[in-house]
């Protein structure tokens, strides 16, 4: 379906931008846990039980995640194959940032983290709702969240993963605009926004984890 190099590039960019939007929304909900367990519980309950979110947005999101990483791997493999005899000396750092050259690495770390994250939250959640059909409990979310951040190992893994997410975003966010064909006088602004987003969102998530670890 999406066969040409540019179409794939655009698809990568669009799925990435979609995931960025999701990330922003996810963060907005999570940060409420820091100052109001009630608000957090309410929002979480809404997201967890609203049919629109559950049966339309959630599948789209899962598709987006899968698409983004599958396409990422496909492109990486193709790119690797386009230079089968490697350079003996290749000074990548002379002309491009480390993050831009290592999206696959930061991507894999983030992907592994997603595995853990699904295991921690999504799988139990699915199990709770759709396998065991346990009764609805609008107040369980906050305590579940805090519980997860008891372990210092998990908090460390979370924090480390968010550093990689930051790196991934640092290149990916502004790069998406270039991919969809926007490079003009607003590009400077987009670059600034990228720096802000790629720093603040991951730091925020790390803050939430540490906050609950210390206060839980």
């Amino acid at each position: 379906m999406i066969k040409t190099s540019i179409a794939r590039k655009v698809a990568m960019a669009l799925s990435g931008l979609f995931l960025i939007l999701f990330l922003g929304q996810h963060f907005t909900i999570n940060i409420t846990s820091v100052f109001s367990d009630k608000l957090f519980n309410m929002l979480s309950h809404f997201m967890g039980n609203n049919p629109l979110v559950q049966f339309i947005l959630q599948p789209i999101l899962i598709f987006g995640v899968i698409f983004h990483f599958v396409m990422g791997f496909v492109l990486e493999l193709k790119n690797r194959k386009s230079r089968s005899v490697k350079y003996v000396t290749f000074k990548g750092k002379a002309n491009a940032s480390w993050v831009s050259r290592n999206m696959i690495l930061s991507g894999i770390v983030v992907l592994s983290f997603l595995g853990l994250h699904f295991y921690d939250f999504w799988v139990p959640e699915m199990n709770y709702k759709y396998v065991e059909f346990l009764p609805q409990d609008p107040n369980r979310y906050y305590s579940e969240l805090v519980h997860k951040f008891h372990s210092p190992v998990r908090v460390s893994i979370y924090s480390l993963s968010f550093i990689f997410l930051s790196l991934h975003l640092y290149h990916g966010f502004s790069s998406s605009f270039q991919s969809v064909g926007l490079n003009n006088k607003y590009t400077k602004g987009i670059k600034l926004l990228t720096v802000a987003f790629s720093l603040m969102i991951p730091i925020g998530f790390i803050f939430i984890a540490i906050f609950h670890h210390l206060n839980g």
Binding site: T4, S5, I6, A7, R8, K9, V10, L75, K78, N79, K81, S82, R83, S84, V85, K86, Y87, V88, T89, F90, K91, G92, A94, N95, A96, S97, S100, R101, M103, H171, S175, F177, Q178, S179, V180, G181, L182, N183, N184
Partner: protein, 248 residues
């Protein structure tokens, strides 16, 4: 200056290649890099060895034929120059210099440091032109005024010399900067706009068929381009491609 050269030697497209070490002395800092290579070849010939094959022609940075990957960078460490404009004063006595061909599957080695860049020609043949015949009856050159900013941008894109440094520098061996420069030049000019849709679709199709990698926006091409062709062109081509896809 005395230098150690590590040069990729490969007899022909099908042969196995390897890096070979040479030492060279009495290199003058005023020499251009290619003059140093000439001197090295003279020495090899005197010793009865096969001189190193490399592409070069104009030696003033405009024909785009020279194509060496020096110390891990296309056209070496200097910026906005081709290999022929790189001078030995950029190196120090005792340096070891690695010299490799531009590498990409789409640029097979012809011999040693010379590569086959005809993939670029084929991309242009797929659509890098305005379909106008020579007749002597074309409309007057001043019949269509063109916004100076567009004309200047078209010119900047058109200064591409087709050397392939963008492909060589890109970790993915992508040819997007080259192709986008041509697509941009024409899409910015009214003369080229008429066939913009088919042009971008055909050129990108050919680019993909030649086996170049995908662009991941690392920006290495822009930094290494001896003519400073801007990444803006790639964005413009992405844009053109999207609208063309929706139209076609």
């Amino acid at each position: 200056m005395n230098l150690t050269l590590k040069i990729w030697r490969q007899a022909n497209a099908d042969a196995e290649g390897k890096m070979v070490n040479y030492s060279i002395s009495d290199v003058s800092p005023d020499m251009s890099f290619l003059e140093m290579m000439d001197m090295h070849n003279e020495q090899l010939i005197a010793k009865g060895e096969d001189p190193v094959a490399f592409d070069h022609d104009c030696r003033e940075g405009i024909c785009g034929m020279c194509s060496m990957f020096i110390n891990g960078e296309a056209h070496g460490p200097d910026r906005l120059v081709t290999t022929c404009q790189l001078h030995m004063r950029k190196f120090k006595d005792g340096d070891t210099i690695t010299i490799e061909p531009f590498r990409a599957n789409a640029f097979p080695v012809v011999k040693d440091l010379a590569v086959d860049r005809s993939a670029f020609d084929r991309i242009q043949q797929a659509g890098g032109f305005v379909s106008v015949n020579t007749s002597g009856n074309t409309q007057d050159a001043n019949a269509i005024p063109i916004d100076k900013h567009d004309a200047d941008k078209a010119f900047d894109a058109a200064t591409c010399i087709g050397c392939g440094a963008c492909v060589a520098s890109c970790k993915n061996a992508s040819a997007m900067l080259f192709v986008s420069a041509k697509v941009s030049q024409y899409s910015l000019l009214p003369q080229g706009k008429v066939e913009a849709t088919d042009r971008v679709l055909n050129m990108v199709k050919q680019m993909d068929e030649e086996g170049f990698g995908n662009c991941t926006n690392t920006g290495a091409c822009e930094v290494e381009c001896p003519k400073g062709i801007s990444l803006e062109n790639i964005a413009r081509m992405n844009n053109e491609y999207l609208s063309a896809t929706l139209k076609a």
